[in-house]
């Protein structure tokens, strides 16, 4: 098969139009990724030439108590945040899928917080979580008084801070809700009708029809949540500075500090590669388990 001159011209034109992206991808994604792998094997402070030190950075990480602490904090956050956000977003999507008069208004209201910049929402929530003056404790005040319990120190005590940040994450589930909503609207009506004829009530219809039918969407959101949550940085950076007592010192925050505050770019690169492997491992587990619980239409 020969390629005509016109086809070559078209190919070149296509590549020319694609070239800004290709060059950008090569220069700003591929090259840094390859370099970070090399730097992870180097002692590199950004200012002087990197010196190859083999696996020393990885060995040092194994003995770094703060590394393990930041990893624990991140995994704890993921363990609380991923299921909580999924349950809430599925629940909200189910409610928004109900035919109501002001449906579009409710949908807009749920989506609205996703449009608020992270900095603004972090500042807002910092005040809402304030132990003495915050809105949340003010609202809870009568209940707490009745129970004779002190106001929760949301961001000010180690055992409270991660659940508080996870709770805050629920506020911005609007994007996920929209994806679930699209999935819910794709569930064939005849399946519900058949289930109803078989005598299934709302709970059984949800469990046996809705959930299996939107399982690919759940799976997609799970993967995105794993990737996103293991990289969480901006909220603790703005709200808690990793405190108190490093209880919200997330993995990416420690990575950032090593790179730009402690000037240990090699060490930070090693952390980045471990993070990538962790994301790959967790994603791999999710894919492996998906054979048991994700059902694709037509299969």
């Amino acid at each position: 098969m020969t390629i005509t001159r016109g086809e070559i011209r078209n190919l070149l034109k296509g590549l020319a139009f694609l070239s800004p992206w290709l060059v950008g991808f090569a220069a700003f994604m591929c090259l840094p990724i390859v370099l970070s792998l090399y730097y992870s094997l180097c002692d590199y402070d950004l200012l002087q030439r990197p010196v190859f030190i083999g696996m020393d950075n990885y060995r040092a990480l194994v003995n770094d108590a703060v590394f393990w602490r930041s990893l624990r904090v991140t995994l704890l956050y993921a363990a609380i945040s991923v299921p909580m956000a999924m349950l809430v977003s599925i629940g909200v999507a189910l409610l928004l899928n109900v035919k109501l008069r002001a449906q579009s208004i409710f949908r807009t209201l749920v989506f609205l917080p996703s449009l608020v910049p992270t900095v603004a929402s972090a500042m807002l929530w910092k005040w809402m979580f304030n132990q003495r003056l915050g809105l949340i404790n003010r609202v809870l005040s009568p209940l707490l008084g009745w129970l004779h319990k002190p106001a929760p120190p949301w961001l000010d005590q180690s055992n409270w801070v991660v659940p508080s940040l996870a709770l805050m994450g629920v506020w911005s589930v609007g994007n996920t809700v929209i994806i679930y909503l699209a999935g819910l609207q794709d569930v064939p009506r005849e399946l519900y009708e058949a289930a109803e004829l078989d005598g299934a009530g709302p709970a059984r219809r949800l469990w046996h029809v809705t959930i299996p039918m939107i399982s690919p969407v759940i799976f997609f959101n799970l993967i995105m949540a794993i990737i996103g949550i293991l990289q969480v940085f901006d909220t603790p950076f703005m709200m808690t500075k990793g405190g108190p007592n490093r209880a919200s010192y997330f993995y990416t925050y420690y990575l950032y500090d090593n790179a730009f505050t402690n000037l240990q770019m090699g060490y930070a690169s090693a952390m980045a590669w471990i993070q990538l492997l962790l994301v790959l491992a967790l994603t791999g587990i999710a894919f492996w388990s998906s054979k048991r619980w994700v059902h694709y239409q037509g299969k």
């Binding site: 020319a16 139009f17 070239s19 800004p20 290709l22 060059v23 002692d43 402070d45 950004l46 200012l47 002087q48 030439r49 010196v51 030190i53 040092a60 108590a65 703060v66 304030n130 132990q131 003495r132 003056l133 005040s141 009568p142 707490l144 008084g145 004779h148 319990k149 002190p150 106001a151 120190p153 961001l155 000010d156 005590q157 180690s158 500075k241 990793g242 405190g243 108190p244 007592n245 490093r246 010192y249 500090d257 730009f260 505050t261 402690n262 000037l263």
Partner: protein
């Protein structure tokens, strides 16, 4: 298309500084500074003074640009070979950047401009040096002292006298500070039946609110880093006493009292600042506090005083911690001599005093004018001048891993105040970790020097 776009990026037009008419042929110096708002405006006045005098004479034009995260941006720009000519950083960078050979040494230029040891108070002159090199000169300094609310002292004069304390002066030892604090602290019971601190006499708070609390061992007669032995001193009994003292507050007042009191404060520069609001009677702060009191609650202008923060060691007096903002020339700057002209200009006594008065700070210089002492916005500036000139004035720890140490000590203070950490065990762990970090830094440095 991509080649075209790259060509425009590399060879295309550059943004030109907005040079005033008649100065098109001037050498433009790029000066990066961290300050914003009033502090930036004050520095701009000094920049304008330079541009209109020495700059005009020597055909140099300084263009100041204010930015956030200036240390990281300076670092990245230096690594990329396009640093600013002058960077307005902080004192810890003298050691951190200096040890990485990221700064131009300035000793020869300083000598040529007649700037020498005797010109500066020792704590600042020493703080500008590392490994025998002068890497910075001060832009504005600080010295911390005890601020106390004289109105609250006088309102509680009878109670203070009954406790054997003088309401007309500040406490002079840590023991006295505790006794004053016990008398002046008031509680209230909230709707949940929990006891809250309504007004504190003194209250140590996490570093977000109590900026210099990690340096508290200085007032107990210990330094956390020994620059001669190049060792951390965190297991020194005096350091432990200091952290034990911090933990005595949550022990006395209740576990959540400290955190609740801390977080109920508004921003530092706001009427909700606990000292300004009158809910905190004594605190450790720098001289600029006078400015913030005046801005946020002018009615309090005559209701406070400043004195040396008391110590826990009999006979140890006038202890202070002196952090400072510094002007440095990053390595790779193409106009070192011209950049130093500006730095030397800022360090002229008249310009330095002007800037320090505008920032409401003390002067780092040995000689201070009558005008500075008598027209300074902080009426107690003499206290701060004496403190920074004291032999017990301490600079920021001159340790290349000071940033790591700062983070570690911050976490310990937070944990100690929240009663989550035992001071002794946590300081022992930190000693091992930080010493290992320092030794790793030294090993890496030696290896780099061998290979490069």
């Amino acid at each position: 298309m991509a080649i075209g776009a790259l060509s425009v990026l590399i060879f295309g037009p550059r943004s030109e500084p907005s040079l005033p008419p008649g100065r098109r042929d001037y050498l433009v110096l790029h000066y990066w500074e961290k300050w914003v708002g009033k502090e930036e405006e004050a520095m701009q006045q000094i920049v304008d003074d330079f541009n209109n005098t020495i700059g005009a004479k020597k055909h140099i034009y300084v263009e100041m640009m204010s930015m956030s995260d200036i240390d990281q941006k300076t670092l990245v720009a230096t690594a990329g070979g396009v640093p600013p000519d002058i960077a307005g950083l902080w004192d810890p960078m003298v050691v951190q950047f200096g040890s990485l050979n990221a700064l131009e040494p300035l000793e020869d230029l300083a000598k040529a401009h007649g700037i020498s040891k005797g010109y500066y108070q020792p704590v600042f002159w020493n703080g500008c040096h590392f490994n025998g090199h002068l890497y910075a000169l001060v832009s504005t300094p600080a010295a911390v002292a005890l601020f106390y609310n004289t109105r609250i002292f006088h309102e509680n004069a009878a109670k203070l006298r009954a406790a054997g304390l003088d309401p007309d002066r500040a406490p002079q030892s840590i023991d006295e500070l505790d006794r004053y604090s016990n008398v002046l602290t008031q509680f209230v019971t909230d709707s949940q039946g929990q006891r809250q601190v309504r007004r504190a006499g003194y209250m140590p708070m996490p570093p977000d609110y109590d900026w210099y609390i990690t340096s508290i061992p200085l007032w107990f007669g210990a330094e956390e880093w020994d620059p001669v032995a190049r060792r951390f001193n965190l297991t020194d009994p005096a350091v432990l006493r200091a952290f034990d003292w911090l933990q005595s507050f949550p022990r006395k007042l209740g576990k959540s009292a400290v955190s609740e009191f801390s977080t109920s404060q508004g921003g530092f520069n706001s009427p909700q600042n606990a000292f300004i609001a009158g809910t905190l009677t004594m605190e450790m702060q720098g001289p600029w506090m006078a400015n913030f009191i005046h801005i946020n609650r002018p009615s309090m202008d005559h209701d406070w005083a400043a004195a040396p923060f008391p110590t826990a060691v009999p006979g140890l007096r006038d202890v202070t911690y002196c952090p400072f903002d510094a002007l440095m020339i990053p390595r790779g700057c193409r106009h070192v001599a011209e950049a130093f002209e500006f730095i030397a200009f800022v360090n002229q006594q008249d310009e330095m005093e002007k800037l320090c008065m505008l920032h409401c700070k003390n002067s780092p210089l040995t000689n201070v004018s009558w005008n500075f002492l008598h027209h300074h916005p902080n009426p107690y500036i003499g206290v701060f001048q004496e403190l920074s000139a004291s032999p017990n004035a301490h600079m920021t720890m001159q340790c290349p891993v000071a940033q790591v140490a700062g983070a570690e000590l911050t976490a310990i203070v937070q944990g100690v105040l929240a009663m989550e950490l035992d001071p002794k065990a946590s300081l022992q762990r930190a000693q091992v970790r930080l010493q290992a970090k320092y030794e790793e830094f030294e090993t890496n440095l030696q290896r780099r020097m061998r290979t490069q």
